[in-house]
């Protein structure tokens, strides 16, 4: 009956319900939207590592992120292959170049050289053509989202990167990095573009044999090359994300805007719930007079908050889903992991309850004696 009373109050007090609902929706939508962009950017930060298909990245000493390492010797490919746990080891070369558009202008691109025919560390999803497009020495890929920026090159179109002739062999989907446009090309072509000395690479990717005990295999690999950085893919991904998150100010910026969104929600919820409870003070006094305890009044107030929060969560997530749907496939980085939704919902509920504490204090102050004139 207390929950029913709360529900009836929520339905009856439409203006205050709408206000509190707005607060909850603001929290869910604004925080959710901020988080989706943050997770989208986080994905960009470690996109090459996450989609490499390797178990281990061997890089130069003291590496703090996947994009900032010195070159390593190609002999580590052979040294890694010498271990029985290793199924394959492939070099990757990452450099920069200027992509010449059809209009004659230039766009800065990050070129990722992968060795044929395995193409380890190469593209993982194609919009047009497939990995066979990279088997040719001159072929490069461009990403669908970067087509406009690169002058909408057609498949087979010949252009230049870093003054070297290349031909667009495939169009990738979702291959965008935090540092800009990603263009994949055969290893030899990237060596030319970036003018890298022979036998030097950005990293060596290693894949363990199926059934290999990964931790032990990783330790053996580290022992075999003690002066170099040997990271598991997960480690390097985390390290890279953390590096950008902290050092670029993204963490602080998103943390601040998320805190502002939460604060706005709390203020809206507090004010509207306070007004609502103030308007119901007499009813709470009546409840107390006819036998209700303070905790019964608290149950009604918290039930109201719970009902409004559930409604707000529903509307907020609906709006968020619409936004994510609208931005999916666009150049706006947005990704919302499913496991974050219950955390956001629980957080919003906590914030709503916190916002209702002032109102609860007012409600609990309702004295049963006040119902007598």
């Amino acid at each position: 009956m207390r929950s029913l009373t709360a529900f009836r109050m929520v339905v009856h007090d439409r203006s205050s319900t709408a206000g509190a609902l707005l607060g909850v929706v603001a929290i869910v939508f604004l925080v959710g939207q901020q988080l989706s962009i943050l997770f989208g950017l986080l994905n960009y930060m470690s996109v090459l590592v996450d989609h490499s298909g390797a178990d281990v990245w061997i890089m130069s000493p003291h590496v703090r992120n996947a994009d900032a390492g010195d070159l390593v010797s190609g002999r580590f490919v052979d040294r890694a292959m010498g271990l029985e746990d290793v199924e394959w080891a492939e070099p990757v070369l990452i450099g920069n170049g200027l992509f010449k558009t059809s209009g004659g202008s230039f766009e800065s691109v990050r070129v990722v050289g992968v060795r044929r025919p395995r193409l380890a560390g190469g593209p993982w999803e194609y919009e047009d053509a497939d990995e066979r497009g990279l088997l040719d020495f001159e072929s490069v890929t461009v990403d669908r989202l970067d087509l406009a920026k690169l002058g909408n090159p057609a498949l087979g179109e010949v252009t230049e990167i870093g003054g070297r002739r290349v031909r667009v062999g495939a169009v990738t989907e979702g291959a965008r990095g935090f540092q800009g446009t990603l263009v994949f090309a055969p290893l030899e072509k990237v060596k030319e573009i970036s003018r890298t000395p022979p036998g030097r690479y950005s990293a060596v990717l290693v894949r363990f044999r199926p059934g290999a005990f990964r931790e032990a295999a990783l330790e053996r690999l580290r022992a075999a090359m003690p002066l170099y950085t040997v990271y598991s893919t997960d480690e390097l991904s985390r390290l890279t994300r953390r590096y950008y998150f902290i050092n670029t100010g993204i963490g602080g910026s998103f943390g601040f805007s998320t805190a502002i969104a939460v604060l706005i929600g709390i203020v809206i919820i507090s004010l509207t719930m306070y007004t609502s409870v103030l308007g119901r003070a007499r009813d709470f006094a009546v409840m107390r007079a006819i036998g209700g305890r303070r905790r019964d009044v608290a149950v009604v107030v918290f039930s109201e908050v719970l009902i409004i929060t559930c409604m707000g969560l529903f509307i907020g997530f609906l709006l968020l889903a619409a936004l994510l749907n609208a931005t999916s496939g666009s150049s706006i980085p947005s990704y919302f992991p499913a496991e974050v939704a219950p955390i956001l919902a629980a957080g919003t509920l906590l914030v709503s309850l916190a916002g209702s504490l002032v109102a609860l204090r007012v409600a609990l102050k309702a004295e049963p004696a006040s119902v007598f004139h």
């Binding site: 009373t5 007079a289 049963p368």
Partner: protein
């Protein structure tokens, strides 16, 4: 043994600077089957007395006994429980909760502490509403009722738990003469036929003819108390 007994009950209030006594030591006993009217001018202490008897205000001094048990210093939760089980309240304004239908307002009196409604609660509420002439209003919102109808609905809310004691605070002051008469007739019937203690605080002289006992308070003291039939031409139920 009286159902409700006050022994030297007094109450002080602070006005911020000093304590002021609004009810001087008062001893009273009440038994079922009578409608008691407590009357007096504004500020005489009658509402304070009613609040103490209704367990919504603690006395500063004295002993309050309910069915032989000293309830003067029991906990807040215990007083709430006693109010729930033993008391019915009718306020000056009907104070029905907006948003709840008439029936739900009545049900709330049963289940305000979260207990499940008894199986016969619906039937009992319907019977009560029928007996109070509100049979058609069960599912209506309070705002759609007239003042008299709301007050009768609040009586139904007070009676649904079958309370031993019914406390009424100026139940007719917000009503026109006809509605006030109807409400007092109902209260009288409840006291006499259903053998309950019905205490009515009022300064409205129109309710005096319904009283089995009239207690007058002035300046925080009992000025007169008669259990005799108060007036000639007293209304029979």
């Amino acid at each position: 043994m009286s159902v409700l007994k006050l022994e030297n009950i007094a109450r002080d209030f602070s006005d911020g600077r000093q304590m002021r006594r609004v009810l001087f030591p008062t001893s009273l006993e009440f038994d079922p089957g009578e409608l008691v009217v407590i009357s007096g001018p504004s500020g005489s202490g009658k509402t304070t007395l009613l609040s103490i008897m209704g367990l919504v205000l603690r006395p500063t001094e004295g002993v309050l006994s309910l069915e032989g048990r000293d309830v003067t210093a029991i906990s807040d939760d215990e007083t709430a429980g006693l109010r729930l089980r033993k008391y019915g309240f009718v306020f000056q304004q009907p104070m029905l909760i907006e948003g709840l239908s008439v029936m739900e307002n009545i049900a709330l009196a049963f289940a305000v502490q979260g207990a499940r409604l008894p199986r016969n609660a619906g039937t009992r509420a319907k019977e009560l509403l029928d007996s109070l002439g509100l049979g058609e209003t069960a599912h209506m919102q309070p705002r759609l009722l007239s003042g008299g109808m709301k007050q009768r609905a609040s009586i139904a809310r007070a009676l649904i738990k079958d309370p031993a004691i019914l406390l009424c605070d100026e139940p007719t002051s917000a009503l026109d003469a006809e509605s006030g008469q109807a409400v007092m007739t109902i209260l009288k019937r409840i006291a006499v036929e259903e053998r309950r203690i019905v205490l009515v605080v009022s300064h409205d002289a129109r309710v005096f003819p319904y009283a089995d006992r009239l207690i007058k308070i002035e300046n925080g003291r009992i000025a007169s108390d008669t259990s005799e039939r108060y007036a000639e031409g007293k209304v029979d139920t």
